[in-house]
């Protein structure tokens, strides 16, 4: 009798752990599934040109999703990233076209490196505003970033009266040329934006795993009170994540303007939703404390490939939205199932030990 029950338990345990491993790899499995599916059903899906094009699309969402991942891990949310993309694009475009008028008859023009740095600082500054609202004034992250969403978009539209800054080739006399490199340049055959993504992603993954601030991000999201009691400067950690998110959004703003060689103030509308979707698909828990940069990147790839592949198959954009929504919901359902299964398996292992 006893032997029978033990073997049954063992089997249940093994079956459980097998299923668990599968569930843990679900984002990978989803990625391979979409790639396999589209390479069969979408013509030219695996052509080099298409892969490079897709990687550029994916990169844009991946930047935002990385920033979003840190924010969500601390238990917050950043709705303002789409607007930051738009505003930063306008800042970069405006600096190249018009420079800064000092009001005393002089106008200062910057070279492309300086333009990029100033634009990034603008993104970080908006992130800092989010952070200050949330930490010092105790505004809920959802509301604070909803507010900056409107404010930043408003300023983007005001900056040009709603017009596009066209033709950002710059003027050789003023030393403002070369903006196209970021959006359409290639290094070793890969787009520059993809290289930037690789660098930022590696840095973010390093921060998450090997630095005190990274560990503290997880601790704050997992149990803010315990983090405070352990002497973690919770406000500083939150400031960091919102500033990093603003930084990532500024990169996207620059890259998009560079790709189009124009800045439009409505750029980045509703990008924040795609970023949240990628983070969640990659296993980031909306209640905080869990998530990885690697998972988020894969999540961004799944979403990007899904939408590009569906376009190539000629699926209507209305159906695309339905499909994307279902994929996100399924991902979260599986995530919850995994968590429950994990607890069951852990309990079973404990019981076996005793």
């Amino acid at each position: 009798m006893t032997t029978v029950t033990t073997t049954q338990n063992a089997q249940a345990g093994d079956g459980g752990s097998m299923l668990l491993t599968l569930m843990k790899l679900r984002t990978f499995i989803a990625l391979f599934a979409v790639i396999a599916f589209f390479s069969i059903f979408a013509p030219n899906f695996l052509s080099t040109a298409n892969i490079i094009l897709m990687s550029k699309h994916v990169a844009l969402n991946a930047f935002l999703a990385m920033g979003m991942t840190f924010v969500i891990i601390t238990g917050g949310i950043d709705l303002s990233v789409g607007s930051i993309v738009g505003l930063c694009g306008m800042v970069a475009g405006g600096l190249i076209l018009h420079g800064i008028d000092l009001q005393i008859g002089y106008t200062v023009y910057f070279n492309i490196v300086e333009v990029a740095i100033i634009t990034l600082l603008v993104g970080v500054a908006i992130g800092a505003v989010n952070g200050l609202l949330i930490t010092k004034l105790n505004v809920a992250p959802f509301i604070a970033t909803l507010g900056t969403l409107y404010v930043a978009r408003g300023f983007a539209l005001l900056s040009s009266d709603g017009q596009t800054f066209p033709n950002l080739v710059g003027n050789p006399d003023l030393g403002t040329t070369g903006f196209a490199f970021l959006g359409s340049g290639r290094i070793f055959g890969l787009p520059v934006s993809v290289w930037i993504l690789v660098v930022v992603a590696l840095a973010a993954a390093y921060i998450a795993k090997y630095t005190p601030i990274g560990r503290q991000i997880f601790a704050v999201g997992g149990n803010e009170r315990a983090a405070r009691m352990s002497g973690i400067k919770v406000d500083r950690v939150k400031m960091f994540v919102y500033m990093f998110s603003g930084f990532c959004a500024a990169i996207v703003g620059i890259v998009i303007s560079s790709e189009l060689m124009a800045s439009h103030p409505a750029t980045g509308n509703s990008f924040e939703l795609n970023a949240i979707a990628a983070a969640v698909l990659g296993g980031t828990s909306m209640s905080g404390g869990r998530g990885t940069i690697g998972g988020t990147i894969i999540g961004a790839f799944v979403i990007g490939i899904l939408s590009d592949g569906l376009v190539m198959m000629g699926v209507s954009s209305f159906w695309q939205m339905v499909i994307k929504g279902i994929v996100i919901i399924v991902a979260v359902v599986v995530d919850q199932a995994q968590r429950r299964l994990q607890q069951r398996v852990a309990l079973m292992q404990l019981a076996k030990k005793d």
């Binding site: 090997y210 630095t211 005190p212 601030i213 997880f218 315990a226 983090a227 009691m229 352990s230 002497g231």
Partner: protein, 514 residues
């Protein structure tokens, strides 16, 4: 001991046991409640009083055993079920809706309605005022509950229970926030209810109250009933004896070592309570290096709040703190940790651990900066070494430090919290109820660790509501009551009765002023 009169039994617990995941809260308890009498229940924190009452009130179901109501077996699936059978309870933690008025609270879930015209607010207020007047509460039924001080909120809770027209009324520490005058009125009301034949269950730590009002007394210890008697036959000594028992627990023997100079001093620490008064009332205390100071007090005596003030968790607290000879001017927790203070919080789950992180990450959480190279890179080697050392030092039973911290037993989780605090190299260790919710073996480990650390020259302050613990572990004992330190005494001179008496003294002095 005289025989216990049978009395008129209304409810009987027959061999009841309650098990939570891994912990036996109540073991084979037999209890009879008598009609028209005050049935007193007494025991230390965690002895199982509240669990026992929660089973009668339908909040919990017994794991084993039967509940007999007037001789018939009953089963309560919810508090509403128990209420239908005429059982009402005033819980120790207040269960009121702060955003609703007093009348709405009293009639919550059984609103007086006038058909389709909805709730009859006027009738509710009238009825509510009637009950409040009975208690001489001086509260208008239209006031928002959140605007009332805590003592009056307790009166609202009592009024609510009385309004149920119960046959059995359970009061779990109803006087913990009441003034002496309010207690007198409550006792008068209890007397009236008794005359009406209501069976009253009264739980309290204040022994003199029990002696004044009780008819039958039951003492609980570690989930077991250790004494039952008529109140008229016994005295407080008997209660203390039954509460503590004679079988000694496994305490670490104190190692003789010399005490050093003053390591920690708190001067005049005060913390205002949100609802008025002081949660910590001008507390001053000094501890020497290598000394273990036990702070004894009942729930709500202000021990946790005092520790939190010391750690800089309350920006509104006043007073001065010294570590060694130097005053600590910084008011934030990180700086205070850096200056050599560390706290093991009382609530392990809410304040001690980050549940989603691994055992290893929890251990190093407070001292990450020390384990870095170049100021930002966490050195894997150094971290591993530190974790191994902590696991060995504290004999944490962790098969793999990378597992989730929640995969371990409560005792080992507590050791992780202690390890985390020790990694910051503190000079003064504050431990808030360090033995709460952990098993006997882990308790012994924790106590041994405390003695060892004291031997190494750490100043330790620990709080407890376990008399035996405070007597066995401390070099010196401080008793807190109602936010004040009411007694500081060397262990050699302390007796259990002295401590129990001092633990309710804080309330007495307010009585004199009142």
């Amino acid at each position: 001991m005289a025989e216990i009169e049978e009395g008129d039994i209304i409810l009987k617990l027959d061999d009841v046991t309650k098990v939570y995941s891994g912990i036996v809260a109540v073991k084979h308890a037999n209890l009879a409640l008598r009609r028209g009498a005050v049935n007193v229940l007494v025991g230390e924190n965690g002895a199982g009083k509240s669990t026992l009452m929660r089973m009668i009130a339908g909040v919990e179901k017994p794991s084993l055993g039967r509940i007999l109501l007037e001789g018939k077996e009953v089963e309560f699936n919810s508090p509403a079920d128990a209420q239908k059978h005429g059982i009402g309870m005033v819980f120790q933690e207040l269960n009121l809706f702060g955003n609703l008025s007093v009348a709405e609270n009293i009639f919550a879930t059984r609103e007086i309605v006038r058909g389709v015209r909805g709730i009859d607010h006027k009738a509710q207020v009238e009825r509510a005022n009637h009950y409040l007047d009975k208690l001489d509460a001086g509260i208008s039924a239209e006031t928002m509950v959140e605007d009332l001080p805590i003592g009056q909120q307790q009166l609202v809770e009592i009024a609510k229970a009385i309004s149920l027209d119960t046959r059995i009324l359970i009061l779990d520490e109803p006087t913990s926030a009441l003034s002496a005058a309010e207690v007198d009125i409550l006792f008068k009301v209890i007397g009236e209810l008794k005359a009406q034949g209501v069976a009253i269950v009264y739980i309290s730590h204040r022994l003199e109250e029990l002696m004044r009002i009780g008819d039958y007394i039951t003492v609980l210890r570690d989930g077991q009933i250790t004494g039952q008697a008529m109140v008229k036959d016994i005295d407080t000594k008997w209660i203390v004896r039954s509460m503590i028992g004679s079988d000694a627990k496994d305490f670490a023997k104190s190692v003789d070592h010399k005490l050093g100079g003053e390591a920690f001093r708190a001067e005049d620490i005060s913390l205002p309570r949100k609802t008025g008064g002081l949660a910590v009332d001008h507390v001053s205390i000094s501890v020497r290096a290598g000394e273990v100071l036990g702070i004894y007090g009942l729930m709500g005596a202000g021990r946790s709040e005092f520790f939190e003030c010391v750690m800089g968790q309350h920006p509104h607290s006043t007073g001065r703190i010294f570590v060694g000879a130097k005053e600590i001017i910084e008011r934030d927790t990180p700086a205070r940790i850096k200056r050599g203070l560390a706290l093991i919080p009382e609530d392990r789950q809410r304040e001690g651990l980050v549940q989603v992180l691994s055992i290893a990450a929890n251990l190093t959480l407070a001292s990450l900066q020390k384990l870095t190279r170049f100021g930002f890179h966490i050195s894997g080697q150094r971290e591993q070494a530190a974790i191994r050392e902590a696991i060995n030092d504290l004999s944490i039973k962790a098969p793999n430090p990378e597992f989730d911290v929640t995969s371990m037993s409560g005792g080992n989780q507590q050791k992780v919290v202690i390890g985390k605090a020790l990694m910051t190299n503190p000079k003064v260790l504050l431990m808030d109820e360090p033995s709460r919710g952990i098993d006997v073996g882990a308790k012994a480990d924790v106590f041994r660790t405390m003695r060892r650390l004291a031997g190494e020259g750490l100043a330790i302050l620990f709080s407890t509501s376990d008399l035996e613990e405070v007597m066995a572990l401390s070099d010196r004992i401080a008793v807190m009551s109602n936010g004040k330190i009411t007694k500081v005494i060397d262990r050699a001179e302390a007796t259990e009765e002295m401590i129990v008496k001092a633990a309710s003294e804080g309330h007495k002095s307010t009585r004199e002023f009142a």
